[in-house]
Symmetry: C2
């Protein structure tokens, strides 16, 4: 197991990210934690074990489990198992499992130890590092949560082998987003030139991809761990449009697809407002398309009211106005409000270029 | 309204404590927050207003409201009212109201603004400053929560006028505890010499009492905001014994009574173990008695198993052993395990000196 990076986050807490050689390497590490641990799986990741560790919670798989009742189940089991404040919760799964494990860890006795083992590409490059935890509440995505960085994140590419194609593309959308936000063009060029190896999930290629992508995320979150300085918010590129799309489709579309679609809408908005260079936007949208995302998707006219209402619930608000992340150029993002008429035009009209 | 102090707490966040001259002064300040606020009351404090502010939640009064469902009610109302991340939750009431308002504020959109208006002595000197929030869970006190300091705490002695005697004594127990933990003897001597004025709730006397008491708490919490360095834990003097007593009595006794009783048990334990000076312990126990606390109370033999089990759920554990705060001398506390036989002797036997 090799050390990938150490991120210094909220409250000065550090997250150590490790890359496991294979599943055996991963198991050895996890076996070393001893007894005062509680494991959190979902019905998918629980099947990866011949025999589950004794103290465990198995959540339903998918966004449906991002609820208070999942968090309460974890907390109740922790109490039943006598987990102390110096005990550890291990989240073993995708973003939902890691979010639930982390949110529970953040409030169990006001905070216990936390290890995350992300088993999806999305969770590896996004949810597992950065300390944001959340549940969906009253039909709104990530409305309630906390900042609570994991003590350790253990990444093992072997866990991606059985990941469904749609899930893989969910994660890749965040990688593409990070490529635009990166201060250099390394990741962007890697995505342009290594498409076949990436889609074939070549182990070594994915290691590089995840490492480059995490470095971009880390650059943003270390400067602004609790998202109060307007820097970390840039990682929400594509998410304002994307979350509203996801929510109005009742979360059936998948997070990454929403982000890919939303990022392209933000690029188009930037071009229209004279903020984004047109050639840069066109190139980036082409890159998204080359990975198979349905960028040309538009919502039906009848769904506009619902979409707009969900958009208005976005957390990035100032003085009542929703703010969007728009790109000036490679690695340079800004927060801007967008007039409702332009939003409507972008999400229900034909593509504008 | 005058500024009392500024405490720098978890995550570098500051809590400004203000002392209002009277209710009018308090109202003016609260009126200045504008519209993006949500008020939290309980059925007692809600009656202090002729007309409640439009966005409000009124919780049941008492420990029974320290639940997830109270927190969920606050969060749901915040969403219904369109409260943004830069909005503010105002907790107006005692410890339970302030804890629920603060816990909800800590997880609403991963944290919104928070103002606390403590209306009990206990909450003024304890819960409102320090950033600890919690709910009871599975019958265990403060088992789930977060560290989330308020932006502002507004103290107004006029709110204490109608406080029942038992509630007043609940708060006074924490003041007495702070007197033992203080680095100087100022507060201890104030309690010795001003008993009549304190019990008569003389406005000016209470202002001095609260100011001195808060200064002690602040000394401990500023050095160790998230209770990871073994300093802040000293504020738990009396709480390990006290919580177990409260819990085994199903929270009917009141927090302060438990703390007073628990502090005296800890003083006795310290004397038995040769840690606490006997004359110091005798004097301190006498001070508690002089304020009317039932220090000689002992649990019935048949309640011992239940008491011990609740004691074992205490959060201050290391390697499976519960740690107790014991006093070496004025202002000098240490964390020590205590043998079960001695605990049993202290809580069910006759007083030992």
């Amino acid at each position: 197991m090799k050390s990938l990076s150490t991120a210094t986050l909220a409250n000065g807490k550090q997250t150590d990210v490790f890359l496991a050689d294979d599943l055996k390497d991963l198991s050895e590490r996890l076996g070393n934690y001893g007894r005062s641990v509680l494991w959190v799986f979902d019905t998918n990741t629980a099947t990866l074990f011949k025999q589950l560790p004794p103290a465990n919670v198995v959540l339903d798989s998918g966004e449906i489990a991002k609820t208070f009742s999942s968090v309460e189940r974890i907390l109740a089991t922790a109490i039943d198992e006598g987990l102390a404040r110096d005990g550890r919760i291990i989240g073993f799964g995708g973003g939902v499992v890691c979010d639930m494990a982390a949110f529970a860890a953040s409030i169990y006795m006001r905070g216990c130890k936390l290890t995350l083992v992300p088993t999806t590409l999305l969770c590896m490059v996004d949810a597992s590092v950065g300390g944001k935890t959340a549940i969906d509440f009253k039909g709104l995505k990530n409305m309630v949560g906390s900042f609570y960085p994991a003590n350790e994140v253990l990444i093992c590419m072997d866990t991606l082998r059985t990941l469904p194609e749609k899930e893989f593309l969910n994660g890749l959308a965040e990688v593409l987003k990070h490529a635009l936000l990166s201060q250099d063009e390394h990741l962007y060029r890697f995505l342009l030139t290594k498409k076949n190896e990436i889609l074939a999930r070549n182990n070594e290629t994915l290691q590089t991809l995840v490492t480059l992508s995490l470095a971009v995320k880390q650059w943003y979150i270390e400067q602004d761990p609790t998202e109060t300085l307007g820097i970390r918010q840039m990682l929400n590129l594509g998410h304002t449009f994307g979350h509203a799309l996801e929510a109005s489709a009742h979360f059936s579309l998948g997070h990454g697809i929403g982000v890919a679609w939303g990022t392209c809408r933000a690029l188009e908005a930037g071009v229209t407002l004279g903020i984004t260079d047109k050639a840069y936007a066109t190139g980036a949208i082409k890159l998204f398309k080359s990975y198979g995302y349905d960028i040309d998707y538009r919502i039906g006219r009848g769904d506009w009211i619902d979409f707009r209402e969900r958009l208005m619930k976005d957390k990035k608000k100032m003085n009542g106005q929703v703010l969007f992340v728009l790109m000036e150029s490679q690695g340079k993002a800004v927060l801007r409000p967008i007039e409702t008429a332009l939003v409507q035009h972008l999400v229900i009209a034909k593509p504008i270029f």
